[in-house]
C-alpha cells in the first residue's frame, strides 16, 4: 500500500523551529508520521512539540536513526540544507521550499547523481501514503487508502484531482508531488517506475503542465515500460507561453515541445487518455478499475 514512505519511515524535519516547519511537523505527526528529530543549526538541545532538535542532520541520523528528511528551510539556505541531507546518507529527502535559486539546484542535482539518496522536490507539496504517513504539506483529510498512484507537478492540482477520486470512493496508494521547478529530483519517469513496480497500485494518474519536456519523456517511458493503466491531465492548454520559459530555453529544446498539445499528443500516442477536466481524469480511472 505504500511507495517510498510508510509508518516505519523515520523523519528528521530540517527547519523545525520555523513557523512552517513547526506547524507542518505537528500536522505530520498528527497524521501518524514518525517524526523522530528536528535539525536546525544553533538550536541543538531544544525540543519542538516533543521532538528533539539537533544542530546537524548527521546528529539526527546518529542519535535517532533518521532515514528521511523533510526540508522547510528558507530559499536562501535551502540548497545547502538539501546538500546536508544528501551528505548524511538518508534514503529520502523531501524539499518543500519554494524559490530556491536555479543555479543552487543545478549544483544539488550534480551531487544527487553521486549519492544514493532520493530527492523529491523542491517547490512541492511532498508525498503521502494515506493511512500511514505524509511527508510535507498535503492536507491529509482529502486522501483515502486505495489502489491508485498519483504523480503531479502541481500541488493544488493534486488536491483537486484527489478530491475527485476520493469523492467517488477511489483511494490512493501514494500521491507524490514532484514540484514544478526547472530542476527537480524525482521526476515523472522515476515516479511511474515506482508505481509500476508496486503490486498494490492498479492505476496511475499523472498530472503535468506546460513547459519543459518531462511529460513527453514520461510518455515515451510509459509506452516502453508501463503496463499499469495511466490517465493524464495537462494544465495550461489556454495559458500564454509561460513567462518563465526564456528565449534561450526554447533554443535548447529546439522544436515545438513543451506545449500542452505536444504533451497531450505524446501521452495519447502512448495510450494514455488525457482528461479535459479533473472530473474526466477520475472517469478514466473509474473505467480502468471497473
Amino acid at each position: 500500500m505504500s511507495v517510498l514512505v510508510d509508518d516505519d519511515t523515520r523523519v528528521v524535519v530540517q527547519g523545525i523551529t520555523g513557523g512552517e516547519g513547526k506547524f507542518h511537523a505537528e500536522q505530520m505527526m498528527e497524521y501518524g508520521t514518525n517524526v523522530v528529530a528536528g535539525a536546525v543549526p544553533g538550536k541543538g538541545g531544544q525540543e519542538v512539540s516533543g521532538v528533539p532538535v539537533y544542530d546537524t542532520v548527521h546528529e539526527a541520523v546518529d542519535e535517532e536513526n533518521a532515514d528521511t528528511s523533510v526540508i522547510f528551510v528558507p530559499p536562501a539556505f535551502a540548497g545547502d540544507a538539501v546538500f546536508e541531507s544528501l551528505d548524511s546518507d538518508l534514503d529520502l529527502a523531501v524539499a518543500i521550499t519554494e524559490g530556491i535559486p536555479t543555479q543552487d539546484m543545478a549544483r544539488v542535482n550534480k551531487r544527487l547523481s553521486e549519492t544514493d539518496t532520493r530527492l523529491i522536490g523542491p517547490n512541492c507539496p511532498g508525498l503521502i501514503t494515506p493511512g500511514e504517513a505524509k511527508l510535507g504539506i498535503l492536507p491529509g483529510n482529502i486522501f483515502s487508502e486505495g489502489n491508485v498512484g498519483l504523480v503531479s507537478r502541481s500541488g493544488t492540482l493534486t488536491y483537486q484531482v484527489v478530491d475527485s477520486l476520493t469523492s467517488r470512493g477511489i483511494g490512493q496508494t501514494t500521491a507524490i508531488g514532484i514540484g514544478g521547478d526547472p530542476i527537480i529530483g524525482t521526476d515523472f519517469v522515476d515516479a511511474l517506475e515506482l508505481f509500476e513496480d508496486d503490486p498494490d497500485t492498479d492505476a496511475i494518474v499523472m498530472c503535468g503542465e506546460i513547459g519543459g519536456e518531462d511529460e513527453e519523456e514520461a510518455a515515451a517511458f510509459i509506452d516502453d515500460y508501463v503496463d499499469t493503466p495511466v490517465a493524464g491531465f495537462i494544465a495550461g492548454r489556454t495559458a500564454p507561453p509561460g513567462k518563465r520559459m526564456g528565449h534561450a530555453g526554447a533554443i535548447v529544446s529546439g522544436s515545438g515541445t513543451g506545449t500542452a498539445e505536444s504533451k497531450i499528443s505524446a501521452l495519447n500516442d502512448a495510450g494514455v487518455p488525457v482528461g479535459d477536466t479533473p472530473e474526466e481524469v477520475a472517469n478514466h480511472i473509474e473505467e480502468f478499475l471497473s
Partner: protein, 383 residues
C-alpha cells in the same frame, strides 16, 4: 527579471566583453548630442522588452544629424508591440563581415548549464534551432566546476567558427559563462556577436535574464529591476503586490492558489465556452489582505465582466480567504462585477461560514463555479 539592452551591455562591458560605444537618450537633442560624441554612423535603438524591434521599426541607422533627428523622432514615443518607447540607445554602428550567436542558459532537461555557439547569428536563432539544430553547437557545463577553457574552445570549433577569431570568441564565451554564473543568470545571450573586417568581435546586442529567486543575493541587479520592469500597468501593479499575473484577452477574471490549479481554471473557462481575462496566482498561504489585493487587481481590469475565485487550500486557509473576499467587497455600495467563489481544502467549512453570501455566488465544485462565472460574463456581453 529581464534587463534592458543598455543595462545588459553595461554588465557585459564591465566584465570585459567588447561592446560598441553607446549612450542612452530620452529626447531628440540628446540623441544628436550622443551621436556626435560617438561619431556617425550610429544605430538608434528603442529600449523596450520586446523581440523583433528592428522589423517593427524600433531600430534605425543614421548617417548624419538629419537622419539621427528623423530616427529619434520616429522611435521616441512610438508604441512598439504595446510598449511605449521613452528611451533609446544611441550606438556606434559596427561595420561587420559576419554575425555569430553565443548564449548560456540552464538546460532543464539535463539539469545543467549549457553553452551554445552558432555561426548563424544575427537572425531568429529560435528558427535556426528548429530548422537546423546542428547549426548550434552545445556544450553542457558541470555547475560545481564551471566552464573549463577547453569546453569553450570545443563549442567554438564544433560550431565551425573561423580560426582567425576562434580565440576571441572562446574568450567571450568563457566570460559570458562566468557572468551568468556570478549574476545568477537564467539566460545570457549575444546575438549578434559581430565580426569586423579586422577580425574583432563585438557584442552588438545583449540579453540578460536574471533568476528572480536569486535576486536576494544580487542587490545591484535588483536595483535595476524597477527600471527594467516597464510594460503593462496591471502587470506592474501585480509586481508591486507580488502576484504571478498574466493579462489575457478575455473577460472572465480568474484568481486561484497554485500555478497548476489556476491554469486548470483557465482551461475550464475555455472548456465551458468562456474566455479568461487573466492568470492570477495568489501563491501559497495567502492571508486575507493578499486575497483582497487580488480582487482589487482583477476588478481594476476594465475587460473583466465576472470573476471566479478557486481556492483549494493546503497551506492556504479557507477562513483567511473568506475574510479577504469580504474585506474587498464590503467597500463597495454595489459589487462592480459578479464574483463566484469555490472553496475547498483546509478550513473550507470555516470559510463558508465567514463568507458573506449576499456579496458573492458560492459553488461547491470547480466545474459549477467556472460555468457560473462564464454565464455571468456572457450575460454582461449580451446586454
Amino acid at each position: 527579471m529581464k534587463l534592458h539592452e543598455y543595462q545588459a551591455k553595461n554588465v557585459f562591458a564591465d566584465a570585459g566583453i567588447p561592446t560598441p560605444a553607446s549612450e542612452l537618450a530620452s529626447d531628440v537633442d540628446g540623441v544628436v548630442t550622443a551621436a556626435e560624441e560617438i561619431g556617425y554612423p550610429v544605430a538608434v535603438k528603442a529600449q523596450v522588452q520586446v523581440g523583433g524591434r528592428g522589423k517593427a521599426g524600433g531600430i534605425k541607422l543614421a548617417e548624419d544629424e538629419e537622419e539621427a533627428r528623423e530616427a529619434a523622432d520616429s522611435i521616441l514615443g512610438m508604441d512598439l508591440k504595446g510598449y511605449h518607447v521613452d528611451r533609446v540607445l544611441v550606438e556606434e554602428a559596427v561595420d561587420f563581415v559576419n554575425e555569430l550567436y553565443v548564449g548560456i542558459t540552464m538546460d532543464r532537461g539535463e539539469g545543467k548549464p549549457v553553452a551554445m555557439v552558432s555561426t548563424k547569428g544575427g537572425v531568429n536563432i529560435e528558427e535556426v534551432a528548429e530548422e537546423d539544430p546542428e547549426a548550434i553547437a552545445r556544450e553542457h557545463i558541470d555547475p560545481s566546476f564551471g566552464m573549463h577553457p577547453y569546453q569553450a574552445r570545443k563549442a567554438v570549433y564544433d560550431a565551425g567558427v573561423d580560426q582567425s577569431i576562434a580565440r576571441d570568441v572562446s574568450s567571450v564565451l568563457t566570460t559570458l559563462y562566468q557572468l551568468w554564473d556570478d549574476k545568477d543568470g537564467a539566460d545570457a545571450e549575444i546575438n549578434p556577436l559581430m565580426v569586423t573586417s579586422d577580425d574583432e568581435v563585438i557584442a552588438a546586442d545583449a540579453v540578460m535574464n536574471i533568476d528572480e529567486d536569486a535576486l536576494f543575493r544580487q542587490p545591484e541587479l535588483a536595483e535595476m529591476e524597477e527600471e527594467a520592469a516597464g510594460g503593462d500597468e496591471l502587470e506592474q501593479k501585480a509586481d508591486e503586490y507580488g502576484f504571478d499575473y498574466v493579462r489575457l484577452d478575455g473577460n472572465v477574471g480568474i484568481i486561484g492558489n497554485g500555478a497548476g490549479l489556476v491554469m486548470t481554471t483557465l482551461d475550464l473557462v475555455d472548456h465551458y465556452g468562456g474566455q479568461p481575462a487573466n492568470f492570477l496566482d495568489v501563491g501559497g498561504g495567502a492571508k486575507a489582505e493578499r486575497i483582497s489585493n487580488a480582487l482589487d487587481m482583477v476588478f481594476s481590469d476594465d475587460n473583466v465582466d465576472s470573476v471566479v475565485f478557486n481556492i483549494f487550500g493546503g497551506i492556504t486557509r479557507g477562513d483567511e480567504v473568506a475574510r479577504g473576499i469580504n474585506e474587498a467587497l464590503e467597500q463597495f455600495d454595489e459589487i462592480p462585477k459578479p464574483v463566484v467563489v469555490r472553496l475547498a481544502g483546509t478550513n473550507w467549512e470555516e470559510g463558508m461560514e465567514i463568507l458573506n453570501e449576499d456579496l458573492v455566488t458560492v459553488e461547491q465544485t470547480l466545474e459549477d463555479a467556472v460555468q457560473r462565472a462564464v454565464e455571468y460574463a456572457g450575460e454582461v456581453n449580451d446586454q
